[in-house]
Subunit: 581 residues, 2 copies
Amino acid sequence: MACPVGPLSRSVSTARVSRVRLSMAAPEPPFDEQCNYEDRTPTTSKEKVVVLGSGWASVKFLQNIDTEKFDVTVVSPRNFFLFTPFLPSCVVGTVESRSIVEPIRKLLRHGARPITRKLRDATAGVTAENFSEARFLEAACTKIDPEQSCVYCQDISSVSGPCNAFRLDYDRLVVAVGATSNTFDTPGVAEHALFLKELGDASALRDRMLDAFESAALQDDPAEKTKLCTFVVVGAGPTGVEFAAELDDHIREDLASLYPAEVAASKVVLISSTDDLLSSYDKKISDFTKLLLEQSRVEVRSGVRVVEVRKDAVVCLDKKTKEEFIEPSFMTLWSTGVKPGRLVEELLAKIPEQTKRSGMLVDTGLLSYGSKNIYAAGDCAVLYTGNAMNEDLEKLFKRADADGNGALDKKELLALFNEVGDDYPQAEVFQFKIDEDFDTFDVDGSGTIELEEFKALLRTIDSSLRNLPPTAQVAGQMGGFLASRFNGETKKGFKYFHKGSMAYVGQDKAAAQVSMLKNLLPEMLQEQLPLVGEDIILTGGLAETVWRLLYLDMQISNRNKLQVGFDWTKQIIFGRDTSRF
Amino acid sequence: MACPVGPLSRSVSTARVSRVRLSMAAPEPPFDEQCNYEDRTPTTSKEKVVVLGSGWASVKFLQNIDTEKFDVTVVSPRNFFLFTPFLPSCVVGTVESRSIVEPIRKLLRHGARPITRKLRDATAGVTAENFSEARFLEAACTKIDPEQSCVYCQDISSVSGPCNAFRLDYDRLVVAVGATSNTFDTPGVAEHALFLKELGDASALRDRMLDAFESAALQDDPAEKTKLCTFVVVGAGPTGVEFAAELDDHIREDLASLYPAEVAASKVVLISSTDDLLSSYDKKISDFTKLLLEQSRVEVRSGVRVVEVRKDAVVCLDKKTKEEFIEPSFMTLWSTGVKPGRLVEELLAKIPEQTKRSGMLVDTGLLSYGSKNIYAAGDCAVLYTGNAMNEDLEKLFKRADADGNGALDKKELLALFNEVGDDYPQAEVFQFKIDEDFDTFDVDGSGTIELEEFKALLRTIDSSLRNLPPTAQVAGQMGGFLASRFNGETKKGFKYFHKGSMAYVGQDKAAAQVSMLKNLLPEMLQEQLPLVGEDIILTGGLAETVWRLLYLDMQISNRNKLQVGFDWTKQIIFGRDTSRF
């Protein structure tokens, strides 16, 4: 069950691995068969766990795994954790890049574990002194061999030679490598668009934006200035919306005094392929966001598909009118969704049970289909529930129809969704929509949902929410859950608890749908807020304060918390910095 | 006197200009004869001043020039001012990169002018409201045509086409473009060494250092770890010494807990071609620095010349023993001095009176030799005094010998140097050495300096100090002076006032030689400090506090001041950040 030692073949590939620039633009390095893979499998009597990745899923796993039971090795080309929700703020300088990163090595320490875990540890006699730390190796995993249960890795740092390569055997493998931006094979995206997944992407966007303003300052014609200072954001998910909002704020609040003529000529265009913005959020948030963005400089183009990205423009197709139009743009942010990277794609091709292309299919224990010891968490995992709800249509309808009248009222429907969350996680996430949009599903207006209407509803749920969204929340919960399963603390399947969704929508306002806060609020205040099912929907300035406080609280270390607090204070006093570097 | 309009020649050059990476590694773009140079000369009745550059000399000039008299256009590929003395701190994360930059556009405002200038402005009726701001154009100047009095520039931003080019006529040109690192044609320097002149250099150094630690963590053999974690600094001027000290601090204080085995195996090597460190500073500072660095991990190798830089090592030659030895190093900082960049080199070649290769020869009015309207300031300028002191040997001796006894005592000698500073700026800077090292110059130990000894002394002065050092202080004073000359506020020649020299030497200690402070200190304290001539020499922890306060005070804006203050506070509380990005 271990990888063979020594060079595999000297004739097949001559590919050389170069420094990963840690951005979508830099592809993962290919597996180099010519290298001599040194065996770095640790000698240990414990069960050997190898974790790939250093994002949300990985970190939450590492902070909770019982290192008395498991010998843990983490491999990632990025030696720091990145607080991804702040990337849009980082582009415009509301927060510093250094404030939103934390070295993985620091997060492996006992001191970095959550307080609940520390208490458990204490009960088991584990203290900061005798704690067994996981091992971090900065390297890119270039191949997973599920048959031999080993991974091949390569040191790709700038000081490394071409074949500083090693392999590790594992008893269990946790794949938490995230995903890359999905270009949907749209021509020109890879060459001309920018992305926002890594820290390097943030400075590339900043550079491009300031280049545009400086070049526009060299033009006298306002039309030329507009061409240069039109910024297109493709995709109206949380990243796209927050980036458009932050960019618009930055231009109006900070750049206006330095580039008055250019700012007057500039605009931010947000392109959404659907009619809604933030379509996975509550409708009220979606509408509020659209309203607020339209009040600002941001031009929202919904129902539009991008068919090509050029160096200086985006070619768009209006889905209704079928008309093509061109939007000038030298800085196009592409944020339309994710797909698996090369490593995961190659692994999927080796396992017949892996039938999805969108990621690694896992059961509710996060174990990969077709494997006994490979687990996946985060953006690279696709949680499969065994059955789509529609397949159990009649059984579910019968279960829900408590009074047996052949029709479901709102109460019966909500009760059902409350119960079946364990078996069908998609139901959990869709719950609030049922409450709010009951009338929409009740097509004939009878006040109840009949079997045919129920079928349509389940089809909607299955199709739109079979995958959990690729968010920090989902990834973090998966990581924490997997550690608990490994530790033997739970036998239950993974269940996503939606704590809420938030988006900063510009002009010091945010939109938030927050479940977890409800119980914390005094009853009087709860009544004054528009409550929807289990959720509180906040919009406006209060939501922005909540947004800031919650994000501040989510920071991975006290250092990050204070730094972000400092950054916000600086911004309030001095505005954002407008230098390019 | 204006450049011809339109394309110059379509057959000569096909060179294309690519984005200047703002670091030594990226050469200045060449002049592209194929471009159509649009005339962007402003229409104005004022005298037209064009300023090239956005460093110390340029900014101090711009903050003081009378914009009622002059129409001022600034051209630079860098749209921000950089507080260069903090670059070493920036590498290790003691200060944030954003804290040490300020957009040029902000510095052109009336609000950014020094208080003394604002008072003058107010007298002339100039207020924030009616102030005429200088114009900033982000572009690289690719050619200066002294015959036609015009400059050719190219927009090299990432959104610009290949020939977004323009030209500007000037009545007066201020060349303040700085200088590039001098490799002395040492093999391998351009390919493998890193520099520390721009912000991009700081992140490149940081990347390389952390790459070395991460790659070393993948090695088991301590000897391999040492190879990877040996960092060589070539050049023991202020940049080299401060960088070596900050790096050593960073490794010992911040990295030791994350990379214990690697830090134990690592070392910092400082190579000096002379026997001294900081040889332009006072001997006491030099000695103290050497002592303190030797107490730390830094290995000082003096009297050593580097003959080759390789990817993984530095080849050295001991000047005394003539023995060659090899020092492993994957991160070699090259900080041995500067030379003119391509633009200045090409200009010098066109003017026969420009006989120096080290920069633009200027008179005490900072006017270029061989030109009527080209001025130079900062690192690209070489101040020429007309005569070397040695040429006026007998005249000077006679003048100094007040009592006519054919020998000069210390008092006579100091009096002479006090008087002749206007004609021989080199004397001014050397003054403190006379006081301190009088015995050294009095070779025969007679207690007085005879003609032969005087001759030797003048030769030393002429040879060592003909050029002012390429420091922020000199550049800033030149810029401010040139503005005063232009404004008609002074007819005197430029005289460098040495405010003092400071260097952070590690372990929270600094060495400072401070002239300007002396008069501010209470008399009692003055007596307790080791006074040397006009200077106070401070060493140790007190000097570090002075170092911090003075540098904080030198920050170009209140924003920078507060940010640097914040950064220091963060560092004290949390240590420096150790992530790579």
